[in-house]
């Protein structure tokens, strides 16, 4: 029997009928059509499905959609309203932190969560903050550089984006 779920998805109120064993990643991709969030391993190991659930970084493949009723879900699409890239996304492009791009949406959400918690993260904090996200292309160095760059820019602008 399907379950009714109300979500605030990137700020917009939405209602979905979900299966009892449906995962949030399926709802977001298949029902809301937001395919920025990727499904990689499906078991919490790779982080490609990372989204913010009530502001907390989680793997959408390990969240039961029915349990998210009434929650705010923020996906990579929310970073670029109207298709305008955020400073974080631009930094990824500038630093060459994107190759095949499969890990990128999850990396961006992990970086976003990190920068909300730490305005000036140390190198160690950046690596810790991205530890749940696998990238098989870049070797991580450029991703870390992109996060460092955007943190520095935001600090120079007094915290504004």
């Amino acid at each position: 029997m399907a379950v009714s779920v109300n979500l605030k998805l990137n700020g917009a109120a939405c209602r979905f009928e979900v299966e009892p064993d449906e995962r949030l990643v399926e709802t977001v991709r298949e029902k809301a059509g937001l395919t920025g969030t990727k499904l990689g391993c499906g078991v919490g190991e790779c982080g490609a499905c990372s989204v913010l659930l009530d502001g907390k970084l989680v793997c959408a493949c390990l969240v039961l959609a029915a349990q998210a009723d009434g929650c705010e879900v923020f996906t990579v699409e929310g970073l670029a309203p109207g298709g305008r890239l955020s400073d974080l996304q631009r930094a990824f492009v500038e630093e060459g932190a994107v190759q095949c791009g499969y890990c990128t949406p999850g990396m961006l959400m992990a970086a976003e969560a990190l920068l909300r918690r730490h305005k000036r993260p140390t190198g160690e904090q950046i690596r810790q903050g991205l530890a749940g996200n696998l990238c098989r292309c870049t070797g991580y160095t450029k991703i870390v550089a992109a996060v460092r760059k955007v943190a520095k820019r935001r600090a120079a602008r007094g915290g504004r984006r």
Partner: protein, 305 residues
């Protein structure tokens, strides 16, 4: 296909478990449940994540630390009471998975899952913690060390659930370490883990020493031999090596898909050594700092005269 029901009061959950226990699968964070689907006879997925009575971290009526079953690992890591009085638990929770997993996975789920590799287990055993179990007929407390009867098996009855974990407060200066070996730093289930908790006494001595190992036996294993060696003795690399040997001797590991018995046995010793050598280094630094302060104070005292 299972059915899904979300209940918001502990009383309703207990009522449901009493009536339908064997067919229910409790869902807290779901990080275990969605990886290893529950057995097919569990046709009702019972969401407990909205029971306020199972949430929160604080002190109970007896002045013990109460960590609600729904507290997620990250919440435990960041809580000031945990930092002050149960540092070892914070260290264990900090080692769980990635931030994504720690934000979602709960302490109750870690215990309810009954995996011998659950990282909070050795920490809670060292801290002398108990679990409060609630059923319609009433509540009972079980020491964490007696919660498991084997891998995946607990003393929980089908009509019971974990309400919270209670940890007696440890006062005085603590030394604690939690070390685990796994596939990858930053996210993995343990091949083996070692937890140690103790009070610090002057002269590089540890007292009230508790040592426990995870994933090297069907259930958590206390290591009385290592505790006895360390108790009240001056910490030294030689003593640490002996304590590590005691861990190796006590381990009863198995071969499985995560690791081999031989590796597990060898690595528990190395894990305890690593943790204790770090503690020794910290204690030495603290002693040097204290000595420096004493000398500065004496010098200032002379200056005034």
């Amino acid at each position: 296909m299972p059915s899904f029901l979300s209940l918001t009061s502990l009383e309703d959950v207990a009522e449901m478990l009493w009536a339908e226990g064997p067919t229910c699968a409790l869902v807290a964070g779901g990080t275990d449940l969605l990886v290893r689907a529950p057995r097919p006879e569990r046709t009702l997925w019972l969401d407990i994540s909205r029971c306020a009575e199972l949430a929160g971290i604080g002190l109970d009526a007896q002045g013990r630390l109460r960590v609600g079953a729904l507290a997620c690992h990250q919440e435990v890591v960041e809580h000031p009471l945990v930092r002050r009085h149960a540092r070892l638990l914070g260290l264990a929770c900090a080692s769980v998975g990635s931030l994504q997993i720690r934000n979602r996975g709960t302490l109750g789920g870690n215990l309810g899952n009954a995996s011998p590799a659950a990282d909070t287990l050795p920490a809670l055993v060292c801290l002398g913690a108990s679990v409060r179990l609630v059923a319609r007929q009433g509540a009972r407390e079980v020491p964490v060390s007696e919660l498991y009867t084997g891998p995946g098996q607990t003393v929980l009855r089908p009509d019971e659930l974990i309400e919270s974990v209670r940890v007696p407060l440890r006062r005085g200066r603590a030394a604690a370490c939690f070390k685990k070996a796994g596939q990858r730093k930053g996210m993995c289930c343990s091949k083996a883990s070692v937890a140690l908790d103790a009070r610090v006494r002057p002269g590089l001595r540890l007292v009230d020493v508790r040592v426990a190992m995870g994933a090297v036996a069907p259930t958590v294993l206390g290591v009385p031999a290592a505790e006895a060696l360390l108790e009240g003795q001056r910490l030294s690399p030689r003593l640490i090596a002996q304590a590590a040997e005691a861990c190796v001797a006590a381990a009863r590991p198995i071969d499985d898909l995560r690791s081999s018995a031989g590796y597990r046995r060898a690595v528990v010793g190395a894990l305890l050594s690593e943790g204790l050598l770090e503690i020794l280094e910290r204690l030495r630094r603290a002693e040097r700092r204290a000595e420096g302060l004493r000398r500065a104070r004496r010098a200032r005292g002379r200056g005034r005269r």
